[in-house]
Symmetry: C2
Subunit: 108 residues, 2 copies
């Protein structure tokens, strides 16, 4: 098994030139919320879940985005309710949250 | 298949208090080198390879570290020669570079 059972990376990229970026769409707040929920649920740590900051994941057109490995499942989200659902269903129980999936071909 | 065939994340975490961190061990330079090699080899992009910055991956005792998903293979490295080997063998050909693996139980 991988060191973490599930490893979620949030794009927190901030573009300086006014272009659309995850940082302008609530990514830091979502990351903080996810990290805090995972910790509160006792899911954090080796063999369990890790919530990580990442630079640009290059799927900006779907932003804000996060990706869960090793599954390689990509999510977009709007608010903390969406993050709660990702934590509860995917990070805790391994179910994919279909309604939040990034469409397959959306890239930068 | 995942959006990226292989997605490597480099810990670039900088600790402000003098504690050991990947940033103090050449992580930025390794990241830059990896990104540039992957691009030069024509490996970069959807369906291929993505080289990403990450915050603390919490395996500091093995730092500097990087992780390749979806395989969940963790590496440490010393210099650009090591990065070249990860790019050529793992990111290009899917072979694990055994000599650079992080031992299974090394954490923070």
């Amino acid at each position: 098994m991988s060191y973490y059972q599930r490893h979620i990376f949030f794009c927190l990229n901030q573009r300086p030139n006014g272009e659309a970026c995850c940082a302008d769409r609530g990514a830091q707040r979502a990351f903080d919320h996810c990290k805090s929920r995972v910790k509160a649920e006792g899911l954090a740590g080796p063999g369990k879940v890790r919530v990580n900051k990442a630079g640009c994941l290059d799927r900006c057109a779907a932003g804000p985005v996060a990706v869960v490995y090793p599954e390689g499942v990509w999510y977009t989200y709007v608010d903390e309710h969406d993050i709660d659902e990702i934590v509860e269903r995917h990070l805790k129980h391994g179910e994919v949250v279909e309604r939040l999936l990034v469409p397959p071909h959306v890239g930068r």
